[in-house]
């Protein structure tokens, strides 16, 4: 908490992707494909969201043999409320146009 987050178009795109199925856990590569964000852009946003307390993370419980466990992400309860507010405000100010109709 206490970390100021810059709401960029990339952040809004990620919030939108995380809100499509908010209760589900998402992994990095899938989020990258959904948002079109490169790993070098995606992970710093994930790190900041987690530091702000709006993102929950966990490691894969049973990793597939031969590869390391994957990391999963979803918005926390507060995070979802905050994300909806931010997306709504951005939409109203025409700063951002949603890619998905259901948010």
């Amino acid at each position: 908490m206490g970390v100021r987050l810059r709401i960029s178009r990339q952040t809004l795109a990620l919030l939108e992707a995380l809100l499509v199925h908010p209760a589900q856990w998402h992994h990095g590569y899938a989020l990258s494909q959904q948002t079109g964000l490169a790993s070098g852009t995606l992970y710093p946003i994930l790190m900041r969201l987690e530091k702000s307390g709006w993102l929950e993370t966990r490691w894969e419980d049973v990793p597939v043999s031969g590869r390391p466990p994957r990391h999963f992400y979803r918005l926390s309860g507060y995070g979802r409320e905050w994300a909806r507010e931010e997306l709504g405000a951005a939409r109203e100010s025409k700063f951002w146009k949603p890619a998905h109709s259901k948010v």
Partner: protein, 560 residues
């Protein structure tokens, strides 16, 4: 389906991220591991490479962030906060972060790297070397000469010839300059080479070139005579005990010397190339303002001036010869001989404002007039003898006045500048002292962490104290150093722009040399002072050990 090449690319991408994760800062390593774990899901090599590239960028960002976090801690402190010492007490650390310490140190270094800082450093460093040029100074001059040679710039080469410290190398530049522009032949005699030129085969040729370029100038012949007479005088002094008559006996028998002197005394003008020499050095420094002022001092100092002993020796011989001629009845011839002596003195007085040359000139005039007085008395011409006596008294008064004003002027300048120079030297010395102790303390604290330097002992406390206050003291002493150097920088700037008068520019020497005289480090060169410092240091350590022992004894006593 991936080709072998593609799979190799994928493997490369995975390996690079895997390698980065190994060196990833611990605080954010899990993000690197998360990024690496995703790579197992990427089959397309291009995508894998792009993913890995993002990972590497993230790795460097993590390193940078880790570095800034580390910089926010005080020197010697790592990220682990576990106490190092066995007594449970953590080690002592400086109060300020590495970042704050680094910013102050960089500020001080940046100040010293400014152009004025560079000039101040160069000047003080040159004064500490007794104005002996450094290897860097020589390289600077070689570069200037190289550039001048390429551009066929004779004056540039002549400047190097006048300022280059090694006379053997300097004469090579002089040869090149004169080859490009024969009107610069005067530099052969304007610089004093000290008679140490290894390749003396061209000495006569050079001398003739100068005489050809300026045949009416007494100075040119005087310099040839000095070159001839100097080794003979040295030999004579080495062979026998020195007597007042020795120079006359040694040099009077040298026909070559007598011939050159005769031409010099009979020449219609005197020009010691004082102005040309100074203009050339000034011009060179103006074109190369970053050049060490020490080199410029050499350029001005190595200027040839009349050899007072040889000039006076010839004048005495000439006066004696005139008196003998007069007693033989050839009074007009005797007068002509004496006039040569007085006139050369008068020409010197008018041509060169350098105090030394002025004094030599007055000495010649005085000798000539004394000759006239003796001649008139021998002839029984009382009236002329009295008039000459009056003239002589005027010259003596003028001579004494000039000597005293010269010495007085010198002492005035010296005393006015000494305090300023002392502040420059002291602040420069303290800047170095603080910089060195701060760097050593920081190194000790940082390296000490690796070697688990424990607790809060005296050494640790000193290192922390120096790390706390040293950077600020270094910055302060650097500011004082540059501030106190301002009057000297102003004099240098005025000299370069030609705003200083001739006499004032001579003052430049004194300014420079006073800085050298105020050099504190010179005390460390003498063995007596070195031993004194060692003795005082050992005594101080002994006092500390005894006092600490006594203090411990006192604290134990009440427990019994």
């Amino acid at each position: 389906m991936s080709t072998p090449q593609n799979s190799m690319l994928t493997r490369m991408a995975v390996s690079s991220v895997d390698f980065a994760v190994r060196y990833w800062p611990e605080s954010s390593r899990r993000w690197g591991q998360a990024l690496l774990a995703e790579m197992g899901e990427i089959s397309e090599p291009g995508a894998a490479l792009s993913w890995a590239a993002g990972g590497i960028v993230l790795f460097f960002r993590a390193l940078l962030s880790h570095f800034f976090d580390w910089m926010r801690l005080p020197a010697g402190r790592g990220f682990s906060r576990a106490p190092i010492s066995s007594d449970g007490k953590g080690p002592q650390f400086p109060k300020h972060s590495r970042l704050a310490t680094g910013v102050i140190l960089l500020g001080a270094v940046a100040l010293l790297l400014l152009p004025v800082g560079r000039e101040a450093r160069n000047t003080v460093a040159a004064s500490w070397r007794g104005f002996h040029p450094s290897a860097g100074d020589r390289r600077d001059l070689e570069k200037i000469a190289e550039k001048a040679e390429k551009e066929k710039d004779a004056r540039g080469l002549a400047f190097v010839a006048l300022t280059y410290p090694n006379p053997n190398r300097a004469i090579q530049f002089a040869d090149r300059a004169v080859a490009l522009d024969s009107s610069l032949a005067w530099i052969y005699v304007s610089r004093y080479y000290g008679g140490d030129i290894e390749d003396s085969s061209r000495s006569t040729e050079r001398s003739k070139l100068v005489q050809k370029s300026d045949p009416d100038n007494a100075f040119v012949y005087l310099m040839s005579a000095f070159a001839e007479g100097e080794p003979r005088l040295r030999k004579a002094i080495a062979k026998a005990a020195w007597t007042p008559e020795a120079p006359g006996e040694t040099l009077g028998s040298d026909k070559e010397w007598m011939k050159e002197m005769e031409t010099a005394f009979g020449a219609p003008k005197y020009d010691g190339y004082y102005r040309r020499h100074e203009e050339l050095v000034r011009e060179g420094w103006k074109r190369n303002p970053s050049l060490s002022p020490g080199l410029v001092a050499i350029g001005l100092w190595v200027r040839s001036i009349p050899d007072a002993l040889q000039v006076q020796t010839y004048a005495d011989l000439r006066v004696e010869q005139a008196l003998q001629t007069g007693s033989a009845g050839k009074v007009d011839d005797a007068k002509a001989m004496l006039s040569e002596v007085t006139e050369l003195g008068t020409r010197m007085l008018g041509a060169d404002p350098t105090p030394f040359v002025q004094i030599v000139g007055l000495g010649l005039t005085k000798r000539g007039l004394e000759g006239f007085k003796k001649l008139y008395r021998a002839e029984g011409r009382t009236h002329e003898a009295t008039e000459t006596e009056v003239q002589l008294k005027e010259v003596e008064a003028s001579s004494d006045g000039r000597v005293h004003s010269y010495m007085g002027w010198r002492s005035d300048v010296m005393s006015a500048v000494r305090r300023k120079a002392l502040v420059v030297q002291l602040s420069a010395f303290l800047s170095i002292l603080f910089a060195v102790t701060v760097v050593l303390s920081l190194l000790a604290l940082e390296v000490g962490t690796a070697f688990r330097w424990k607790g809060s002992g005296m050494g640790r406390r000193i290192a922390c104290g120096v790390a706390n206050y040293g950077p600020a003291l270094f910055l302060m002493s650097s500011v004082v150093f540059l501030w106190s150097f301002r009057p000297f920088a102003a004099i240098f700037a005025q000299y370069r722009t030609g705003e200083l008068s001739n006499l004032e520019s001579i003052g430049l020497f004194w300014e420079l040399f006073t800085i050298g005289n105020a050099n504190l480090l010179k005390y460390f060169y003498e063995p007596y002072h070195q031993w004194l410092i060692v003795t005082v240091a050992l005594a101080a350590i002994a006092v500390v050990v005894i006092v600490r022992g006594l203090m411990r004894g006192k604290t134990i006593a009440p427990a019994r």
